[in-house]
Point group: C2
């Protein structure tokens, strides 16, 4: 056994090295690379990706896995490595290589077409390529679908193991029924809240200092991490000793402030993964949803709470100077907790955010299920925004063209955002029974909260999936009711 | 033929992708990566390097090359690709893989030991590992040495094809005989030159603006390049559309000013390589020496000339402010052209620089030739500094421990620095006969000079080696006399 597993490890290390290189290229591309480099660099990334695929679909890897299974006697970690590898193999083994290469090229063209279409508010120019992407993704999903499994469920499973449309239909119904009326009330109250002090020509250097301070405050380590700037904030990691976050500095300081706390939440997850897991197929966060759970827990559940700001608000005022410095904490708290329906998902408040995802979930289900043609996308999009958020985009740029995901071929990804919030609420109510969260925040003891999460979630990487984590941490399976309760307590009259 | 070459290209592209990834990791490591990441990242780089070596030493590659040779009918470019590939194969094919892996690990440990030894001025702690490195490198060179070829000549050939100790002995003898007395005179005159205005608490932001301005002024393109900060300035490139330089900002502004011009000189070379060569084995500068020729030509030959500064000195004064702004250009020119022997190579002026290299060349020859044991290195080093530069290090940190090269296993590299200066002078005198260099500088027409170099040198990549370039550009083989003439004209009484 030991010998077979050692051989497997060596082969997986080669795959991991290729993957890590691709992560670094992506990071570099988003944060630093000169704009003229893209075409030439893409050729290199394409080759690395092919070399990776060759390992994953090689007879050598399949044989090693088979031998591991036959020989048995796997430790828990080895068992998980074999399982994740099997899943990765089954994700790729039936995909025709030439077709997949054509798809990668299609997608890399498509993001450019999408960006131009969004800029020029020209959905028609994006529609044909989107239709092609959907058709490719459906073909690939069909290669992998189990007996009776819907194509959209195949896609959902890539981002959130153990979740399918049956569970998500229930979840989103709950959201719709509860949040739509709640948002209407909260929105009226929010109109009166002043926010002028959030956008008062604060210098970028102050925003940078605040970003660095907040990242460190929640526990991000600059010895094992990097903070850079990119058009859209994101987190990535080479391994558990090199985790990188980005932010952007704009007119409104709450944008970078909360994006940094959000990304630091992602980063703490990856930094907290055990040393014996990192650089193996088990050495990443359990799922997209569990990742969003960590980031949104930090950004919203604790990051927008009064207790979080009490010990540091003075320091933050010092960093930004006037007018923030003389703005009462209560005004600041009110401003960063306004709930007003808007058109843009990434700018949405905590309450309406779930409705933005609801729209996308319902549409994806129809698109993949063949019940909606791309040509009718804008009108369906606009109709749902009117119905759920009470507002309607005046242009497709502000509507159906706002997100990059579909142009990248990502379908089934959006629901994870909302699931993350729901996981977070479920964990939060349980956590409060075990440790005095508010007191800890008030005393600036972020380390205790981080250790709680590390101990129960972070360290395990992919040893457990998100539902198993929820069961182990909270004693029950996934349930949307905590999320609804949380939103009602926070935004109810 | 076409089909075989196409197969060869595909395999070489895989190797190039792995190599480009390693370049990016190295760049990232020097400019950005968190310090805690090194150990884990090294594992990934080790795997990429192994995957690269496997391609280079594969039977598949050897067979393709053999078939190309047999089928014949190669174009000029194809011929060069095959030739460079053959050389790369022969560089690696006889090196025992396990031994080489052990060597890479040794070297990665050694740079840490060297850094500590330098910090603590403790040569004895570095000596054993240095002895081991030398012994490994000699073994590897022995695997590759041709009949009658000395081991040091094998090493020299890696950096400068067509150069060996026979040529270099002559070259360095000329340097010694001419520069040693010249430096003595120039140094006396230099004592009186004031330099206070070069280190007057100029803010880093001004240094940054000047660095960007100067890089662009000589022709560096930020659409296809990046300027970052690292402990030691360097240039690297992913391909001809992504060329990156670094600098550092210290107390003395001439340090970053001239390092940026120097690195931009390297960068212009890589940016100027033809599109059909980049990302092939021919798509890099011809040699280390020809690269240093470009960088030193920009830094010293034109970069320290009055004509270069005339059109931009006002702008530079504006960027830095007082006291530079009111310092006469003649004072600035005198200050940046002082020639005073010092202990540190990287801080050396143009005139004494060659003597620093001379010391290293003579010592490397002895170390590899077995005529000098590592234990006696410090006293031999100090003796040579006394003899050639008239000064003696008070500590090994300022002496034999100052350079990282030997700890990285680089022997035979140093001579390229001096050769670069000599190539530059030879090209300069010829260039002056063809285009009015000084007038162009005075008119700010840097583009004409860049085009001259691009047309005659840059575009060819490795299609020609440095001696062939010199012959084609100047009509004669390498000759040290232009360099001596240049130094005498500039620094003679």
């Amino acid at each position: 056994m030991a010998e077979t597993f050692e051989k497997l490890n060596r082969l997986l290390e080669r795959a991991a090295a290729l993957q890590t290189a691709m992560v670094l290229f992506e990071w570099d591309n988003e944060t630093l690379a000169p704009k003229g480099a893209a075409l030439h660099t893409a050729k290199m990334i394409g080759s690395l990706s092919e070399q990776y695929m060759e390992i994953v679909t090689s007879a050598e890897l399949a044989d090693l896995i088979k031998t591991c299974r036959k020989e048995g006697g796997l430790t828990g970690l080895q068992e998980a490595v074999v399982r994740e590898t099997e899943e990765e193999i089954s994700r790729w083994k039936d995909i025709p290589v030439a077709e997949y290469r054509a798809f990668r090229e299609l997608v890399s063209r498509a993001t450019g077409i999408w960006a131009k279409a969004r800029e020029e508010n020209d959905f028609a120019s994006f529609a044909p390529v989107l239709r092609e992407i959907i058709s490719c993704q459906k073909r690939f999903a069909a290669c992998r679908a189990k007996e009776g499994q819907s194509l959209y469920d195949v896609m959902l499973g890539d981002y959130e193991k153990g979740f399918d449309t049956e569970i998500l239909d229930d979840f989103f119904r709950e959201l719709r029924e509860n949040i739509v009326p709640l948002l209407r009330e909260a929105s009226e109250r929010s109109q009166k809240i002043r926010t002028d002090f959030l956008s008062a020509d604060y210098p970028v250097s102050a925003q940078e200092r605040a970003a660095r301070f907040l990242a460190e405050y929640v526990g991000f380590s600059f010895d094992r991490g990097v903070l850079s700037v990119s058009a859209h904030p994101f987190t990535t990691n080479l391994h558990n000793h090199d985790v990188r976050i980005t932010t952007h500095y704009g007119k409104r300081i709450d944008s970078s402030v909360f994006s940094v706390i959000h990304e630091a939440g992602h980063a703490l997850y990856e930094l907290g993964i055990r040393d014996d897991l990192t650089q193996t197929p088990v050495g990443q966060g359990a799922s997209m949803g569990m990742h969003e759970c960590q980031s949104r827990f930090y950004e919203n559940i604790i990051g927008r709470s009064r207790a979080f700001w009490e010990p540091i608000y003075g320091k933050i005022g010092e960093i930004f100077g006037e007018p923030l410095a003389s703005t009462p904490l209560d005004d600041f708290m009110a401003a960063v907790n306004r709930a007003v329906p808007g058109l843009i998902r990434t700018e949405a408040d905590e309450l309406s955010y779930g409705l933005h995802i609801l729209v996308r979930y319902e549409i994806e289900k129809m698109l993949i299920g063949g019940e909606l043609d791309v040509d009718h996308l804008p009108e369906v999009w606009n109709g749902k925004y009117r119905e759920y958020l009470g507002i309607c985009p005046e242009s497709d740029s502000q509507g159906v063209l706002q997100d990059i995901h579909w142009s990248q071929g990502s379908f089934g990804y959006f629901p994870s955002y909302a699931l993350g919030s729901a996981f977070g609420a479920q964990i939060y109510y349980h956590m409060k029974e075990e440790i005095p969260v508010e007191d800890l925040l008030r005393e600036g003891k972020l380390g205790d909260i981080r250790e709680y999460l590390r101990d129960r979630i972070h360290q395990y990487g992919k040893l457990k999936d998100s539902r198993a984590i929820l069961r182990d941490v909270t004693g029950e399976d996934f349930s949307p009711r905590y999320y609804i309760r949380y939103l009602k307590e926070k935004y109810g009259a």
